[in-house]
Each structure stands twice: as structure tokens, then as C-alpha cells.
Symmetry: C4
Subunit: 238 residues, 4 copies
């Protein structure tokens, strides 16, 4: 687990950071992604406020689970402590994406969860994507980014939501976080969340009484996830 | 009808699979297209879950009408049996496109047919594009993809809809299928469906009482289709 | 006025045909543009149903005001007779663009004129952009494209609308036509119409009682048009 | 402060003018940006009505605070006097961007301020972005562009709005202006305004009673601005 491995980690994080820009989930510097090597306890994350047009993979900042920065000329993303709390709280998660992508943020600003209305959503999220309430004033003022991560972990624990089956959430008045077993899975879930958010908004305008059957949700989710998955080329225990 | 012909079939299927990505009808791997050689009884279809950025024409999977895979290292699309049932049921169809394109899916999730409101729609679909009901639970659980194809064929047969004049449909809670006499026609109908779905949504918000005259629908449809077509450069019995 | 001049005419028409694709006003083959040399009485127009990806400037079809095709291997656009009637009826017009651009078409399908709500609109159209009623059945069935052109000219004449100050219109259930003193002006008006159609739709959703003052319309329109124009680098009697 | 410095000023203005086109805030010639060197009292601004596809940095027009053009073959933007009044009235502003970007213009045409509903907005604008009323008739008719600038400065002064903390506004029936301590900051604020305008429109459609807490606005705004900012790599008194 030498230097080379950490370079790989930086490259993974870099690719996802560039991917969210390419997919138009991010404008300016409104987003960041990280990739976690759980064996080493180290994650690579975007530096704070650095323009995506100038970003190189070498610029990714390595951080351990105590929040220490390991060899970097840059400060890590201002949201680093949120990523850190999620990695600490969700033991199966090794990649996180945070964006202000427009349609997910539209639901977050409206303080509303995104209901599951079809198979696109079902392929990625096993139910409604929850919107967490506004963070309380003292938490915002004292340790905003750390408290945001704690809020996410506590919310999922209290409702016995399994983070791998519900790999994302909205934060009221803010935006979205998605995650996954790899940073690439977190990226795919961010793309899916944005598409589903846009479609749910308009489908509900056409028909406010949609009753999407649970058995279709279950079928589509289990086509892609779990022991009986049969979608894709490598589906053993995916 | 040797190997070369099958390569051509793969290339046709490949081009349409890339076309739906280029036209932004597909993100991630949410879509698949196939091209059918009815003389041979073989169609070429996208492999399951393979990233579009890595896809080569050689990767297309050849399948016969019994569902047998002919020479491929890849598993075919998880929706292969839906394509197969459509080719079996609709004798004039030789190309199929399945996408979760956003506006068509918005109508599908709302369980609503797309009404014909103008000449853009009339140029491709000779009437409202139907939205089929949610598939029943036992069919979803037992043979989902095959039953989806059977549902489409039965729906068109029961209503005496001619698949060539209504080359597509929506599936409630899911997305769209379009088809045509060639895979390229299926592609054009997928592009048209998405554009018409977006426009119908907004036109009805402006005016909920649109009464588009049948005689304009008939005029525009027959400009492009049938014995009296006069649109385009080669219009004999198109 | 030899061959060279006609080549220039073809090139002008070609550039505008490609411009409307680049600006995403056209998908597939849903649009066509022409450029008119009034001195010669000849216009160049897109060939019917030819894919934009294959189009070359040499493919433009030359047509005179009697509808005769002059030297071409291609049939002209199926909408050629509409262009022809507009050139005959509007003596100051030398360029025409027809598209099914989504937002203009949304208003056309809703059978509603686009109200002037701001300066973007005022810079191009001196008032509401009118939506003409559905064409009558006998006219659609007998000489659809020619009657469409006649309808536009008659509508403007009956209401004493000056085509140069109101360089476009919507056709109910169909789409839009824009025009200008050059094909490039017609192109700019098509771009403006689409942008204004989208903005008007949403502004009215936010506020259904907008009362845009006439004096701002007049100011902005006259900044760019007429004897007192002062916008741009060459504004003498533009 | 020789010629070289003025070239730099032109290059800065040019880059922002191209940036607003790249970010799709501008189509045709509907926008202009300027960069101000307060030490010299000279700003560089886009020439009037010149196509963005032909624009070179050398074409930027230099103007002093009396409105005199300094060495240029081009007329400056028709909105030059608006820029000039803002530079005169707002002593900390050294960059201005004017666009008709669709979503900001949608709110301007509806004569409505854009409410702060989330952290994306809070990162750039410390409160609702105000929409100024229609300019009065005599002001439009007599000295439109100059009066527009005066209206903006007076509005901010009367309400004791600090231009650096509220770096932009809407003009009823027209469009938006944004500004900043540099032309690049003005550009970023234009991008942010457009994104926030789009999201606010749709969030309010989902939930008309959003109550975004002031303490989150304050937290996010102060993360990026002022003495205690900790976002980005260089945050000393940013």
C-alpha cells in the first residue's frame, strides 16, 4: 500500500470530480467528490475552491479519518468533514459525491423527498430519496460541515435505512449527497438522482396521484442489486 | 448471408446505440437498440450494462428468435426478450429502440398517453402515442422482460393499431419503446417522441383545451408515409 | 449575375440551414431556410428530407418565383411553395427560416400569440408575435404548402402588419416562420423567437398580469431598427 | 500604467465576454461585459453589436469615466453609459456583466425579485436579488442607458444595500446586471444568478411556503466572504 496506491486513489477521485462537471451536475466550483481507501483509512478529495478547468489529479488532497491532511499544498474541500463523518458512519461506503445539480437542489430547496415514480429511480434507489430537515442553528454556527455529516448518518440509522440501498439524500435548503461502494458508483447515483429529480417534478405536474407499484420497484432494484442481480456483465454479489 | 452480413447488422445496431446517446436520449446505460435481419431471423443488440464510452460495434450481441446468443463474449441487454417478442409479433418491424429519455419517461411515469397536438407529432405518429398500464404483479415477477414484449404486441393487436403507423408506445412507470422498418427509422421515432413529449407537456399547460384537427394530422402523416408520400428524395411506397 | 452569384446564394442558404441546427432550433430534418435574390427572382432552399449531417452547400436547390426548379439533382423542401408565396407577398423579404424549434412550437400548438414582455422580444419584434388560426380543411387538402404561404401574407395584409417590423409568426398546430431582409436576419429572428417563447412561457407562470410598457418596446425596437437606430457598428437606415 | 496595462484590461474584458457565451448566458449579441482599472479611470467593454464568433481581445473598446472613447475603430456597447454610472456610483466595483440569460430574464420580465431559498444563492448573494421597477417614460426616452445606471445606483443607496454583498439586480421588463471586485467575480455572479433563478422558479412551484433560515444564509455567505471566510485557497479579506 505504498505511494502508488495513493496516486491511484487521487486519480479515482479526480475522474469523478471531472465526471460531475462533464455531466453538467456542477458549475463553477459547486461540487466535490472523494474516493476512500478503507484499508488505509485515507480518502482523496477535491481541493477547496480550485477551478475545475485547472484541476489536475495530483491536486487531490489526501485526508485521514481524524481529518489530518497528508502531503498537499492545497486545503481540502470545505465539505471535507461531511465526507469524513459519512465514511465513519457508513462502513460499506467508499465513494461520495456532493453537487448542487439543479433538479436535485430544486427538491432540496423545497424541503421535499423525491418519490419513486418509475423504474429509472428503482434501478438506483430502493424507495423515496429522503430530504433531511434544515440543520439546527447551533449546529450550523458551531461545526457546520461536521454536523451535516452526523445528521446524515443519524438520520439513516434512526430510520434503519441501509446506505447501500438508499445511496443518497437531500439536505433541506442546500443540495444533495450521493455515495456508493466505489466513487464511480457514487457518481452514477448522482447522475441518476438528477435525472429522477427532473422527471419526478414534471410527472407529478401531469398526474398528482401516481401510485407506482412496489412490486415493480422491487423487481427493478433486484435486477441490478443483490444476490439475484442479472443486469450487466459481472453481477456476482454486486 | 455470411459473416459479412452479420457484421453489417452489428454496425447498424451500434450506430443507433451511439445515436441515442449523442441525441441525449440516454445517460449512463439507460437504453438499448437492436437491428433485425428478418431473412436470417437474427438481431444484433447492445450488450448488458456496458458503458457507452467503451462500446465498439464488434461488441453487439447476435440473438436468434428463440433467444439463443450466437457467438459473443457478452450477455445481451437485459431487455432482449422484449425486443424478441416485438420482432415476433410485429412482422414489419426490423429495428427497435428503448430509452428512458426524460420527457417520454415523464409521461410514462404519469401513466398518460401523449396526445397529438401538432404536425411534428403527425409526421411520425398517426395519432396519440398510447401509454400501456402497469404490468401485473405475476408477470413482473415471473418473466418481466418477455411479458413486457407480449403486453406491447397484445395491446396493439387488441386495438387494431398498426405498428408501422404508430411506431412506439409508453409503458406506465417505466419508459418508451419505438420501432420502425429499419433501426434508423426506430431511432428517428425515438427522437421525435422525445421532442413531442416535451412540447405536448408545455402546450397543454398553456392551453388545456387544444383541439388539433384530424385533417391536419392526416395531411402531415400522409405527406411522409404511404403511397402518396411526397416528402424526401425517395418516396416510392416508403 | 452569372453562375457565381447563384453559388453565393446557395452558400448563404446553406449557412443559415446549418446555423439553425447548430443553435438547436432543428432536430432530424424539421426545418428549412432559404435565401432570395430578388434581382434575379431566384431563391436557394434546402432539399427535401436530406439529413443535415450530409448536407453540402452545392445541394441547395434553386427555384424561381413560378416554382420551377433550376438545375438540381434534388427535390426542393416540401415547404418550398410557402417560401415562394412569402417572397411574392412581402416585397422587402429576402430570407426565410422555418423551424419546429420547441418553445415557439409549444405556443403554436397552444394556438396562442407570444406577448411582448420585455426588451429581448422588443429588440426583434415590434409587438406580440401573432399565431394564425388552423388552416381550413379544403386548403390543407388541396394545396397545403401554397395555402400556408397565402394565409401568412393575407393575415399580415389584413391587419396592416409590416413584415419587416414583425418578422415572423406562428401557425396553429404547426410551428413558426421567421423572415428578414437577408437570410441572416431571418436566422437571428428565429433564434430570438425561440428564446422569447421560452421566457414568455415562464414569466407568465410567475406573474399572469405583466404590463410591459409600450414606451420601452418602442425605445428598444427603435434602438436597433429604423432611421434613428444607434445599436451596432453600421446603423445607417438599417 | 502604460499601453501594456490597457492591453491586459482588454484581455480581461474579452475573457469574460467569451465566458458568458460559453456558459450559455448569451445568444446572438445579447450581453456585454466590462473590466475597470480604477487607478486609471478607464474600462474596457465589448463593441456594440459585433458577433461573438468574430470577436478578438483587441476589439474591446476603452472608455473613460466621462464617456470618452480612447483609441478604437469600434463604437462601444450601447449599454456603455449604464456600466459607467455603476462604476461611478459603486466605488468597490471593477467588473460588470450584463446578460439576457433566460432564467434571470424570466424573473425580470415578471417584475419579481429572486428570493434566497438555499445555499447556492447564499454563497453569492446575501439576500433576495432585487428587481427594480420599470424605468419611467421620460427617462427611457431621454437618456435610457445612463438613467438605467443611475436607477441601479440610487436603488442600492436608498435601501443601503452594499453592492459587494448584493452583487447584482434585475431590471423589470429587461434583464440582469451583475458585478464584482473584478470582472471575473462579476462573471461568477452572473453564472450563479442564472442557476439560482432557475432553481428558485421550480422550488417555489413545488412548495410556495419555503422558509429558508437566515442563519444558514449567514453561515454560507460568510464561509466565502469577509474576514472569517474559509472557503478556497486564498481567503484573507476576500
Amino acid at each position: 500500500m505504498g505511494t502508488r496506491n495513493l496516486d491511484q486513489l487521487k486519480q479515482e477521485a479526480f475522474e469523478v470530480n471531472m465526471g460531475i462537471v462533464k455531466e453538467k451536475l456542477v458549475v463553477l466550483t459547486w461540487g466535490n467528490a472523494s474516493s476512500f481507501d478503507r484499508a488505509n483509512g485515507i480518502f482523496a478529495i477535491k481541493p477547496s475552491g480550485v477551478s475545475y478547468t485547472l484541476l489536475k489529479w495530483q491536486d487531490m488532497v489526501l485526508v485521514d479519518l481524524d481529518g489530518n491532511v497528508i502531503e498537499s499544498k492545497f486545503k481540502p474541500s470545505s465539505d471535507t468533514l461531511t465526507h469524513l463523518e459519512i465514511y465513519k458512519g457508513f462502513s460499506s461506503v467508499c465513494g461520495i459525491v456532493h453537487t448542487h445539480s439543479p433538479w436535485a437542489t430544486i427538491w432540496a430547496q423545497a424541503c421535499q423527498s423525491i418519490p419513486v415514480l418509475g423504474t429509472t429511480h428503482s434501478d438506483h434507489f430502493n424507495g423515496d430519496v429522503p430530504c433531511l430537515p434544515y440543520l439546527k442553528m447551533d449546529k450550523v454556527q458551531n461545526a457546520y460541515e461536521k454536523e451535516t455529516g452526523i445528521q446524515i448518518v443519524d438520520f439513516f440509522n434512526n430510520r434503519q435505512l441501509e446506505p447501500i440501498h438508499m445511496p443518497g439524500c437531500l439536505l433541506s435548503g442546500h443540495a444533495s449527497f450521493t455515495w456508493g461502494e466505489t466513487s464511480n458508483k457514487a457518481f452514477e447515483n448522482a447522475v441518476a438522482l438528477e435525472a429522477c429529480a427532473k422527471m419526478a417534478y414534471h410527472s407529478l405536474n401531469l398526474n398528482s396521484k401516481i401510485e407506482f407499484p412496489d412490486y415493480i420497484l422491487e423487481k427493478h432494484y433486484s435486477r441490478k442489486h443483490g444476490a439475484n442481480a442479472y443486469y450487466g456483465q459481472n453481477v456476482i454479489n454486486k
